[in-house]
């Protein structure tokens, strides 16, 4: 090759390298922030819209990666554990809060709040929500999508005069939203009409799904029991737990008021069945109240009613399960300052309200009290009351994922008829106790 040609090639390569570095340096002024969400998350549509607006405002690009829910927890923990710093922030679940803090994977944001608080601080959120992201007095994120469980019922059926008359004739009391499990069962049987493609209720009893263990906690609490005592000994195998689980299994096996296929449903499958008008009663997360009024998601617009979760005995206080999603900043993020700015912006008054209109269950008190929101979604007043009242949550321990799995297996065995409720819960309680002992909870 001639010398002059070689010189030209080398000169061209050097110019290219300079050009590339210039481009990179230009892009390096503004970081690209990355987050991970799961497919079907109710917050995603509003998040996708809002990050584009944020980019226009600030020039900071935000990339959203979606994975199926079944892989979300795993992907999140593996990235955090590897300290790769792939994701700057995550919309994560309060169930996993303890393991994220214990692993040192997320950072407290108190110092950021001190210097740059969100609007209305400290009266931005219900304290019940903030409590689930606080450990040792440190706050680890802002709530972004809530969902206490509510009981839903078909208002159109329950308020129909003919239905009311027929129900009173059969059962001897007024047809109205059930407050006890006995009433719930009567109404579920009454409305269970396979010939009309209407089920009394629908449950999500799939083992390995998100909902089965949650349903057990709700039954346990509503029958007067609890999961752990003050020393972290499992007590869910009490008579309350046995009765609650048996009632739950009987909905399918004995009374047939929920589809037989309920053992293949997770909450993403049971919700649409109710929204399609194929169930008269259902308990589910709060977003259903929002989705029930959305044209692209519901065939029961204007027909959905909601009330408190029933109890076995009127003397037992009504409770609900509150877990929610919050934005947490990764400790491995190289852009923590920018990420806080983004998260604070995503959770401001305007964006929280917008999220409410796009299928999210918003978390700010300002949204709960907003007249536009209350007109479209009156259930927000119910959420604030539920959070102020007897809302309970899952055990805030790092071993929660395994406890959840063991309890889910026990419930599945009872529903399958392989074990009695007592046998299955006693076995699960022993396994959980061994797990907690090994983790050092007992001295």
């Amino acid at each position: 090759m001639k010398r002059s040609t070689k010189k030209c090639i080398i000169f061209g390569l050097v110019l290219s390298l300079i050009f590339i570095f210039a481009l990179v340096a230009q892009g390096a002024d503004k970081p690209v922030l990355r987050t991970l969400v799961f497919q079907g998350w109710a917050r995603t549509p509003s998040l996708q819209k809002q990050v584009l607006e944020y980019e226009k405002l600030t020039g900071v690009k935000v990339e959203i990666e979606e994975v199926p829910f079944s892989q979300f927890h795993e992907k999140m923990i593996l990235d955090f554990a590897s300290k790769a710093g792939t994701y700057d922030f995550i919309g994560t679940l309060t169930d996993w809060f303890s393991e994220l803090v214990r692993g040192g994977y997320i950072i407290p944001i108190d110092d950021y709040i001190k210097n740059d608080p969100p609007e209305d601080w400290p009266n931005t959120y219900p304290q019940a929500l903030l409590n689930l992201q606080t450990k040792d007095g440190k706050l680890y994120g802002f709530p972004t999508h809530d969902g206490p469980i509510m009981l839903y019922y078909r208002k159109d059926l329950f308020e129909d005069p003919k239905e009311k008359e027929a129900f009173k004739e059969k059962y001897g009391y007024e047809l109205q939203s059930p407050k006890t499990w006995a009433q719930f069962l009567d109404m579920a049987i009454f409305f269970n009409r396979p010939d009309q493609n209407l089920n009394g209720t629908v449950i999500a009893a799939k083992q390995g799904g998100q909902q089965l263990a949650y349903d057990f906690y709700l039954m346990l609490w509503s029958f007067g029991g609890d999961i752990f005592d003050e020393n972290w000994k499992p007590i869910f195998n009490s008579q309350a737990g046995i009765d609650g689980l048996q009632y739950y299994a009987d909905l399918r096996n004995k009374w047939g008021v929920t589809p037989k296929a309920s053992t293949t449903y997770d909450e993403t499958e049971s919700g649409p069945i109710y929204l399609e008008g194929r169930a008269a009663l259902m308990w589910h997360w709060s977003h259903i109240a929002s989705w029930a009024e959305m044209e692209d998601r519901s065939k029961i617009i204007g027909k959905n009613g909601y009330t408190v979760f029933p109890v076995a005995d009127p003397n037992i206080p009504h409770t609900t399960l509150d877990i929610h999603w919050f934005f947490a900043i990764s400790s491995a993020s190289k852009n923590q300052d920018e990420t806080y700015e983004l998260v604070k912006w995503l959770c401001n008054k305007e964006n929280d309200k917008e999220a409410a209109f796009m299928g999210t269950v918003a978390c700010r008190l300002s949204t709960f009290h907003d007249p536009d929101v209350l007109e479209k979604f009156p259930f927000y007043s119910g959420i604030e009351a539920a959070l102020a009242g007897e809302a309970k949550t899952t055990p805030q321990i790092a071993e929660y994922a395994q406890v959840d799995d063991l309890i889910g297996i026990a419930c599945s065995k009872v529903i399958a008829g392989e074990k009695t409720a007592k046998e299955a819960l006693d076995e699960a309680a022993k396994q959980v106790e061994d797990l907690m002992a090994k983790a050092g909870y007992y001295k």
Binding site: H73, I77, L78, A81, K206, S262, K413, E418
Partner: protein, 290 residues
Amino acid sequence: MSSIKNRRFNIPQLMVLPTIIFILAVSVYPLIYSFYMTLHDWSLTRAEPPTFVGIGNYISLFQDSRFWYSFRTTVIFTGWAVVMEMVIGMTLALSITRNTRFQQICRSILLIPMMITPVVLSLMWKYMYNPEYGIFNYFLHFLKIEGPIWLGEPSPALPAVIMVDIWQWTPFVFLLLFSGIASLPPDVFEAAQVDGATGFQTFRNITLPLVTPFLLVALLIRFMDSFRIFDTIYVLTKGGPANATETLSIYTYKVGFNYFNMGYAATLSYIILVIITIASQQFVKLEGKS
């Protein structure tokens, strides 16, 4: 002269070196490191570093009733899947031996299932098994039979999952055995025909012994794959309902990627490796004898 020889001697080694490094990095190092993990108590949800526990994980494993239950499920799955694949594969291989156009087309169609990605295939079967919209219950409905909740009840769940494996991997067995049968010398069969041997006698005394080496290879490969079955079960049932389909691989996955107990998950993986290695050696010995 000797320096030129040495240079020639080193060049082939240098050419192979990248491959060796790659194999060491991708196979040997992970194997050694994962064994190291089995000797430690290591949870990804704790900030503390791994703690050395010696054979503690192995002791826990042998005392773990859930390990034994998933081992039993794996043996049942493997037993049924492999046996059925051998029987159906052999039957197909014996039936489609002529080189007619029709049989050529049949052979091509038969290979389609094993070309499909297991996850995609499992999703297809999940929809077919749907108790409300799936095709199986749809046809059962015409026969006035109430279809089971295929993946939602323990008794049909494991057979349902086994059926998917059989459907996907019988073509592999068929292909192997068909190649074996096609390579057999025809004069032996002509001699048997002349001697008046029946079809069954020919199969039992000539075909089967001659095809045995191929049978053992198919058996070995299908055993190793079935014993490690994961993706099909993960997509269809995730080990449920009531843990009816929780095989060793599914349990190992849960321990590693749901509970993040990496030391114990590594231990489970090693035990699976040991079981497969021991069983495979027996197959290889049998093959040597045959």
